[in-house]
């Protein structure tokens, strides 16, 4: 590690995480309200349900990105020279965007879901007007611009130090000559650390994803006021899912840096960029860009080769990083004599959650299976597994690392409440999906309600766990500010 993070940079990271902790809890509560309302235990109006769904969806995606980018920034800034001002600007744009989004949703009635599927924002059937759709989409655009600036800054800093993106992905080592014996030392020196490799991958894919996202946002906003300015609904969908898939996946690719950096401090086994590691990340850079058609498997007018590619790449793309990261985490922990604290426990759990979430995703990425699972609760089942049990524990583990707290009995109880609640919650989603229950239904008919109450109970348990952890983190931050 070449340099330490600046005090200002560190403080900004802590503020990012504090915002994340608070908003995460709020949005999880929104989620519980939705789930319990589906169970019939609560009577939300359909308008309010879809507003909560929109806020929960876009808010969680944004917070996942806030968690991911702050973890990446924290560790990457120890290897390359990042601009703190841009990082601060991103947070400000994010907060302004959030105010716009929440006003559009809860004051203006906007409920077009986080996927704002063209042309739904313009054609709401009377639920909201074009100005509120514009306010919402403008907020999303503003947030996107903030993240784009951070990624450009990261890309610039990486290029300055490593000369090219392929260098920063470790290609000289990956495709280079002998790596043992007397060459070992040289190779170790020249090979970029896992943090740089992951950051480079994210820089590449997220810049492309955000440009696509910004384009479709602008098109949709213009279309609100000039309906004759229209594009094909299928093109709009391609652009949205390209952006959406890349952006949400990048949140984990950033957050996983916490695993690479923090876990070794407990196991005493450094996480190095081995050749399989480098190969996996380079492969995934391409795969994450071309796999998005797996969201369009039920769009029959799509070129069939693209849809088959969506299936094939779904099978292949999850595998390398997962086999490398999950198996890596297992190998680094196995018989390491690790001293478990909250940070390593949560990070270890996170690699499990990520891998576990990929299983139902790959199953559903199979075209003939997608015919009976697409847009059922199976889908929230799979992505809550890797977001709630993968990304969130990465962020929570990072929080414990920041406040340098190993944890007491209460923390341990929170940890297990979180695991049991989270597993139960996601499993009940999957079971409901397998029972053909549609996703995004404000009202569940009696036959759809089988898992709803149980799912809500598990969700409440998971939220309790996160609440305890969030309180611990915020308390730790306040204490360190006073000191």
């Amino acid at each position: 590690m070449s340099n330490d993070i600046s005090a200002g940079g560190r403080l900004t990271v802590v503020i990012y995480q504090a915002v994340a902790a608070v908003v995460l809890l709020l949005l999880m509560t929104f989620g519980l309200l939705m789930r319990y309302s589906q169970a019939g235990g609560l009577d939300l109006s359909e308008d309010l349900f879809y507003q909560l769904m929109t806020a929960h969806g876009i808010g969680m995606v944004g917070i996942a990105a806030i968690c991911g980018v702050s973890i990446m920034w924290f560790f990457l800034s120890q290897y390359v020279q990042l601009t703190t001002e841009i990082f601060v600007l991103n947070l400000i744009l994010f907060l302004v965007g959030v105010v716009m989004i929440l006003s559009a949703i809860f004051l203006g009635g906007f409920a077009g879901a986080w996927t704002f599927l063209y042309p739904l924002p313009r054609i709401s059937g009377g639920a909201w007007g074009p100005s509120m759709a514009a306010l919402h989409l403008g907020g999303v655009l503003l947030i996107g611009v903030g993240f784009l600036l951070v990624h450009l800054d990261c890309g610039y800093a990486i290029l300055k130090k490593y000369g090219s993106l392929t260098n920063a992905l470790g290609w000289p080592t990956l495709f280079g000559g002998p790596q043992t014996g007397k060459f070992q030392h040289q190779v170790d020196e020249a090979t970029p650390p896992p943090t740089v490799v992951a950051s480079t991958m994210v820089t590449i894919v997220n810049i492309l994803g955000l440009v696509s996202g910004a384009s479709i946002l602008v098109i949709t906003i213009v279309n609100l006021f000039v309906p004759s300015f229209a594009i094909s609904a299928l093109l709009g969908k391609n652009m949205i899912f390209f952006f959406g898939h890349v952006f949400i996946n990048a949140t984990i690719y950033m957050a996983v840096i916490a695993v690479y950096e923090i876990l070794p401090r407990y196991t005493g086994r450094p996480w190095k960029s081995s050749r399989p590691f480098l190969a996996a990340w380079s492969f995934s850079t391409v795969a994450v860009l071309i796999v998005y058609p797996h969201h369009l498997l039920m769009d029959f007018p799509m070129p069939v080769w693209m849809l088959v590619m969506g299936q094939v790449i779904s099978y292949l793309s999850g595998i390398p990083i997962l086999v490398v990261t999950a198996l890596g985490a297992l190998a680094y922990v196995h018989r390491s004599g690790i001293k478990w604290g909250m940070a390593p426990s949560l990070l270890f759990l996170a690699t499990f959650g990520w891998a576990a979430g990929a299983i139902p995703a790959i199953v559903d990425g199979t075209i003939v299976v997608n015919s009976v699972l697409h847009n059922t609760l199976w889908v929230p089942g799979h992505f809550h597994t890797y977001l709630l049990l993968g990304l969130v524990p990465m962020a929570l583990g990072f929080m414990y690392f920041l406040i340098e707290e190993e944890g007491s009995t209460i923390d341990l109880a929170a940890f297990w409440a979180f695991i049991i609640g989270g597993m139960g919650f996601t499993m009940t989603f999957l079971m409901a999906g397998a029972a053909s229950v549609p996703r995004r239904f404000a009202e569940h008919q009696p036959w759809m309600q089988g898992m709803d109450t149980l799912g809500s109970a598990f969700a409440a348990l998971a939220i309790l766990g996160v609440a305890l952890i969030a309180v611990r983190f915020l308390g730790g931050v306040l204490a360190s500010l006073k000191a």
Partner: protein
């Protein structure tokens, strides 16, 4: 199909969870890192090889019979024209026969909808998207007579959950 998807998912998840629990329990007694790394390396190679080996047959098997391209030949299919509106379906037939293919020509009038077919036991049989400006052709042969139900599986606004229409399938 749903049961297969669920069993595969459940069992793989259980195997994964047991592996994690095992490693967590064995984490205490320290061993030499290089011995573990060696074992993990060969396990990784083995896993990759197994996945690579399974990949081709699984891909061939699952892509042999894709739901696409049904519109090309109507044949002796019974054609049903369907259109999705905010928030109802319009269908130009009320009844079709079992045992003979049905070709659903699915369109949307305003925004994206999802056309999903449920049988009398509320099992999702198959689906396609309904998209403004496009026609999605979905071919289904109903084997059992009965009343089938169609729900919307693409979020389309405030009454999305209430879009429902039925079709009678009579015995041939």
């Amino acid at each position: 199909m749903q049961e297969i998807a669920w069993s595969i998912t459940l069992w793989l998840t259980i195997i994964l969870a047991v592996t994690y629990l095992y490693v967590a329990m064995k984490s205490g007694d320290a061993a030499d890192a290089s011995s573990v790394a060696g074992a993990a390396g060969s396990l990784r190679t083995w896993l990759f090889a197994m996945l690579a080996f399974a990949f081709v047959p699984v891909t061939l098997m699952t892509t042999a019979d894709l739901p696409y391209g049904a519109g090309a030949s109507t044949g002796k299919a019974q054609v049903v024209n369907v259109k999705g509106f905010q928030w109802y379906w319009e269908m130009d037939q009320e009844e079709v026969k079992a045992g003979i293919p049905v070709l659903f020509k699915v369109e949307a009038a305003d925004v994206n909808h999802g056309f999903a077919i449920y049988d009398e036991d509320n099992v999702l049989i198959t689906q396609t998207q309904a998209m403004p400006g496009y026609t999605n052709n979905l071919k289904v042969t109903f084997t059992k007579p009965g009343t089938y139900k169609f729900l919307c599986l693409e979020y389309c606004g405030r009454q999305h959950h209430a879009m429902e229409i039925t079709l009678n399938v009579t015995s041939n």
